[in-house]
């Protein structure tokens, strides 16, 4: 059964909001990583900064992938 355009649009909106919330959670994690690695560096502990940078870059990659994915879907709909 093929969904009607209105129903499909509603589903897309729900997915968009879910992705947006997920993106918010990821940015909050990145903020926590940034503050944590800065505090650790100023305390003299250098072991944490490189893993934090790798995780933060990975999270950014995920966010960028989601953003461009959403844009691609929107373009296909137009």
């Amino acid at each position: 059964m093929t969904p009607t355009p209105t129903r499909r649009h509603g589903q897309q909106a729900i997915i968009f909001v879910a992705l947006l919330l997920f993106c918010l959670v990821l940015v909050t994690i990145q903020l926590w990583l940034f503050v944590g690695s800065l505090e650790a560096h100023l305390r003299g502990n250098r072991a944490m900064s490189i893993p934090a940078a790798i995780i933060s870059a990975t999270v950014f990659g995920l966010n960028a992938w989601m953003y461009f994915g959403v844009r691609r879907i929107e373009r296909q709909d137009l």
């Binding site: 993106c23 940015v27 690695s37 502990n45 933060s56 870059a57 950014f60």
Partner: protein, 163 residues
């Protein structure tokens, strides 16, 4: 008048305040990129900052001037950087910054306990490598590298300890 204002400022307040979900998503992705760059910057800063730095040698004292279990205050590398040269009961010479890593109170040598003590908040540091033995200091005391030239003791550099 209203018409003229609309011509001058053609942007509608309603449209101006409206942020679409896509714009918000883009803003969050940019913020994410900014945080990733910032965290990478901290990692680079951390990797590039040197553990040990050398400065011009400065004579502190001669070995004969210091008996075992005594200490001597000096300034290194700048005249405002207070340090402490210590001759331990074993005869070994060590030197540390005199500024507590908690709130910069001047620390003192305690020969009875063979440790460096901060009277402000009961912080204590080891004489082995300056690590924190007790109290609130968050990191070790920076150690002064010493060099012996004949009977004279020279300060030649500064080492930062790992927390």
């Amino acid at each position: 008048m209203e018409r003229r204002l609309q011509e001058e400022f053609p942007v509608s307040w309603v449209d101006d305040d409206y942020v679409t979900r896509r714009e918000f998503f883009r803003f969050m992705t940019l913020a994410s990129g900014g945080l990733a760059v910032g965290t990478a910057g901290i990692a680079a800063w951390s990797a590039l900052s040197r553990e040990s730095r050398s400065f011009d040698p400065v004579r502190i004292a001669s070995r004969a001037e210091m008996r075992a279990g005594s200490s001597l205050a000096f300034a290194y590398p700048r005249s405002t950087d207070l340090c402490l040269l210590i001759r331990r009961p074993t005869g070994e010479f060590v030197a540390y910054s005199r500024r507590c890593t908690h709130l910069s109170c001047p620390v003192d040598y305690q020969p009875d306990h063979d440790r460096i003590y901060c009277p402000c908040h009961n912080g204590a540091f080891s004489l082995e490598d300056g690590h924190v033995l007790q109290g609130p200091p968050p990191r070790p005391l920076p150690q002064i590298r010493l060099e012996f030239r004949g009977d004279d003791i020279f300060a030649v550099g500064l080492m930062r300890g790992e927390a």
